[in-house]
Amino acid sequence: MIGFKDVTRIYDNMTALRKVTFGIEKGEFVYITGPSGAGKSTLLKLIYLAEKPDEGTIRIAGWDTDTLRESAIPYLRRNIGVVFQDFKLLANRTVYDNIALALRIRGFGENEIKGRVQDALKLVGLRHKTDNFPVALSGGEQQRITIARAIVGEPTVLLADEPTGNLDVDNAAGIMKIFKEINARGTTILIATHNRELFRNTGLRVLWFDSGNLVADEEG
């Protein structure tokens, strides 16, 4: 599903990732962890093609970064749902329109969009917030709207960058429950977090990073 081979990413003179190699199978639930600055966010950005590797090759869903044409990028991104660390919700649109956007981009009709957005909102437990604007929502609620937008297009991979970063324990547990449900439907999930509590005793696979190096790959 996802394969990194000797991937290096250098910002100016800062090496964010150094010769990283690993593979993730379809349907896996994987944590990416390590201290701040370890390269977790960079790794996710490489997967959703916001960054390009300086060296090495990344394979995603049958495509690879050596031969990928720029015009194919949008279609590849539709296979990848992203829960951004800063949410990236549009402040001038309602919850409904924010989630629907992911489907409008894919050219869906409004009728189909309506049903799918309602389903996604139900999954994250926010059906009653359909017509609110993002500013009127709490951090946890915004996080869940971002998740709804990421999964509404039924991507094969879901990436989340510090999804519990600013949330209290209850909210964080709620979010993790949603991810488990999504994973149970067959979606591959990668979560980048510096919070070890999230994966302690879960028995899930954890990739440990430090200063851009993959230092441990603990199979669950």
Binding site: L49, A50, I73, P74, R77, L90, L101, R104, I105, R106
Partner: protein, 289 residues
């Protein structure tokens, strides 16, 4: 597609003040273009009818026989630039002169003999004006023994055509300049909108939007601005045309022959839309993912 139109309409409404300004600016530009095309059309119309109005008078020599006259008539009828010919005998010419003199016709009373020459009046084909060919024909005629003289308003026509070509060249320059100005106005408007929506566009890209999906609303927006400007300019041109016709027609009947082709009025919005789309395309530049 429908969603792109919605986005464009929403933005058009949301930014209506900046848009109003743009539309008016484009409208003025297209109004000027409309006037230029209108003038060119009429200059073209009037001048292309000139060869038809100016006829070539071929005065025949005294004592030219019927056989020679018939030969000459046949030769002229075959010429590709000749519309038709009219033979005017000495007697016809005198009758014509009498008629044109009207009350003063008595001055002809004292003549015992018709002093006029028979002649052939040649009407040239409309739009067939080609100086070298007309001059060639005239020189050929002048060389004939049976022809006494050839009279043609060539100098006047030549001058008119020189002026016409000058006007055309200047107009082409002005048209180019104004088209570029309109493109620039659309360019800067769309550029502003693009920067205002930069964050939104980044999110569109991350969610998997194609370049076409991102561009389309801006192109629709730019095209609509140009189209509305064209409607304004077209309306302006039409109103001015009606105004001129109403005001001036009685004082200067010569101007009554002016026409405003409906195609021109319709071409302004279409042209505006095209210029708007060109400006927007330049403003968007090369999108990168």
């Amino acid at each position: 597609m429908i969603y792109s139109i919605k986005l464009a309409l929403k933005s058009l409404w949301f930014e209506k003040w900046i848009h109003m300004l743009t539309v008016v600016t484009i409208g003025v530009g297209l109004f000027v273009l409309g006037l230029i095309f209108f003038s060119l059309y009429n200059i073209e119309g009037i001048t292309s009818r000139l060869p038809e109005r100016f006829s070539v008078m071929v005065f025949l020599s005294e004592g030219t026989g019927n056989r020679e006259i018939n030969q000459l008539k046949a030769r002229l009828s075959e010429d590709p630039i000749v519309e038709r010919i009219k033979y005017i005998s000495k007697d016809d010419a005198l009758v014509e002169l009498r008629t044109s003199l009207k009350d003063a016709a008595y001055i002809l009373e004292g003549l015992d003999e018709n002093p006029l020459f028979p002649s052939i009046e040649i009407r040239l084909k409309k739009n067939s004006f080609d100086r070298t060919r007309v001059e060639g024909l005239i020189n050929e005629l002048k060389g004939l023994r049976s022809v006494n003289d050839v009279v043609y308003g060539e100098d006047l026509l030549g001058t008119i055509y020189t002026i016409r070509n000058g006007v055309k060249t200047i107009s082409a320059g002005v048209i180019l300049l104004f088209s570029m100005a309109i493109i620039f106005v659309c360019y800067s408007t769309v550029k502003i909108l693009f920067y205002r929506r930069k964050e939104e566009i980044e999110i569109f890209k991350l969610l998997g939007a194609t370049k076409a999906f991102i561009r389309l609303p801006f192109l629709i927006e730019g095209g609509t601005l140009g189209f509305l400007g064209g409607l304004l300019g077209g309306a302006g041109t039409y109103i001015l045309y009606r105004f001129i016709n109403g005001l001036v027609i009685s004082d200067f009947p010569m101007l009554g022959v002016m026409h405003l082709p409906l195609g021109l009025v319709a071409a302004l919005p279409a042209g505006g839309a095209i210029l708007g789309i060109i400006g927007s395309t330049i403003a968007l530049g090369r999108l990168r993912f």
